[in-house]
């Protein structure tokens, strides 16, 4: 065994989990799918004195219809997203994105809420939450908060969740039937963290773009909403804009890093290309060049 010693509890209800979190006073780690926590424990990069396993809390799993939204329990496994008929119908872009999270074997344990709460800047699911205006519900013994995804991510692996708060729900507003889903990422190998990517949705009525939600991942310290690019798209006719110009504007809003995987300039260049191509393919616009 590799992790430092820790205590372990597996509460059966949200209230019990919140109580355990409050008691731990910041020294706890929440164990959801474990596909990130266990490596961190094995590497001793994380040394909590207590691990609170939320796998037995039935209330935290499952996909349900809400009022004008889809509610996803944080313990919903990534493999369940891929096979969900409801999500294929209502939130196809989430299904598309989840296929790129880790590998088949890690998706069998990994959860939607785990990925969203971790806040890895290059991860797909936080970007989906930001692009589609998800609301994140957090509970503690102090009460319940509903946090817009746009305000949830503060920096790499930093979220606005307090140490005593548990992520208890993710709700994503509906998009009209037949909306356009956009997803593209660049990875060295399937299942690796993306070097960069873009995810989102567009809705078109009467030949005009009437709704847009787009976010980058791997292009800054958090997932980044492409706000200026969305503004450029809204109200436009499909034949009246230049995807290259929108892509250039979208990249101008990012703050990519230089790291040992790729340089910032590479990320900007490739980001511009994939964004323009994604728009052309998604909207069925002929290739410019």
């Amino acid at each position: 065994m590799k992790p430092a010693p820790f205590d372990y509890v597996s509460p059966a209800t949200i209230d019990e989990a919140c109580f355990a979190l409050a008691e731990a006073g910041g020294g706890a780690a929440i164990l959801a799918g474990g596909q990130t926590l266990l490596p961190l424990l094995n590497l001793r990069m994380s040394q909590p004195f207590i691990v609170i396993d939320i796998n037995k809390i039935a209330q935290l799993a499952g996909i349900a219809r809400g009022d004008g939204c889809t509610c996803i329990g944080p313990m919903t496994r990534q493999c369940e997203v891929i096979t969900s008929e409801a999500l294929a119908r209502d939130l196809p872009v989430l299904v598309q994105a989840v296929r790129h999270v880790g590998h088949h074997q890690t998706r069998n344990r990994g959860t939607v809420g785990g990925s969203i709460a971790l806040g890895e800047p290059a991860a797909e699911l936080p970007a989906v939450a930001v692009a589609l205006d998800a609301t994140i519900e957090a509970r503690s013994t102090r009460g319940t908060r509903r946090i817009p995804a746009g305000e949830f991510y503060l920096g790499p692996y930093m979220t606005s969740l307090e140490a005593d708060e548990l992520l208890t729900g993710i709700s994503i507003p509906d998009w009209p039937r037949g909306h356009i889903t956009l997803f593209r990422e660049v990875t060295r190998r399937p299942g690796d963290f993306a070097l960069l990517g873009m995810v989102g949705a567009l809705s078109v009525e009467g030949g005009k773009i009437v709704r847009a939600g787009l976010a980058w991942f791997g292009m800054g310290p958090t997932p980044l909403r492409a706000k200026a690019a969305e503004q450029m798209l809204l109200g436009r006719s499909l034949d009246a804009f230049d995807p290259e110009a929108v892509a250039a504007r979208a990249v101008a809003e990012t703050a990519p890093f230089d790291d040992h995987h790729a340089g910032a300039e590479y990320r900007r260049t490739v980001g511009r290309r994939i964004f323009a191509r994604m728009l052309r393919e998604g909207l069925g616009i002929g290739a410019a060049a």
């Binding site: 065994m1 205590d7 490596p39 691990v51 396993d53 796998n55 074997q105 890690t106 344990r109």
Partner: protein, 161 residues
């Protein structure tokens, strides 16, 4: 540091133990239950050698605590062949296609392919090949493993004279 009783159905038999919370399922299977066919490579979920089947699904046993498998049905590579030694179809096809050399990654690959082929629907070639991305093999260059996976999806393939 807490200790916990665990009891699981392991390769069809009851197996009980008493573990520290920090013991991974992989270590429990190897050290407590003696199933050393569970191979540990990276111990952080990348290499796939430790893959076992828990409640019907292929998972990384290095990324699960033993205590979490309490009450679960767990199958390791030792549980694949029939009691009389007849190989599981996945083992047979890996043998036929020369899909291994040193054998270190093999138990993990077998468990992923076995979990998928045990599904009632029957996996597509695309599903099987995509699931192989979760395994690292440093010997074979993967082609034998891919042939085996394709043959599992379509058993008639390559059997014509």
């Amino acid at each position: 540091m807490s200790r916990h009783p665990v009891e699981m159905t392991l390769n069809g038999r009851r197996h009980a133990g008493d573990v520290e919370a920090r013991v991974s399922l992989a270590d429990f299977l190897r050290d407590d239950a003696g199933y050393t066919g569970v191979h540990l490579g990276c111990e952080h979920g990348v290499c796939g050698a430790c893959t076992v089947i828990v409640d019907g699904k292929a998972v990384r046993s290095c990324l699960m605590l033993a205590v979490q498998a309490d009450g679960a049905q767990v199958t390791t590579v030792e549980g694949l062949a029939a009691p009389d030694g007849t190989l599981h179809p996945v083992q047979q096809v890996m043998l036929d296609e020369h899909a291994l050399q040193c054998g270190f990654c093999t138990p993990g690959v077998l468990m992923t392919l076995a979990a998928l082929t045990n599904d009632e629907a029957g996996p597509s070639e695309t599903q099987l090949l995509a699931a192989l991305s979760g395994h690292i093999c440093r010997c074979t260059g993967y082609q034998g493993i891919r042939r085996a996976a394709r043959k599992l999806a379509d058993p008639d393939r390559g059997e014509k004279p």
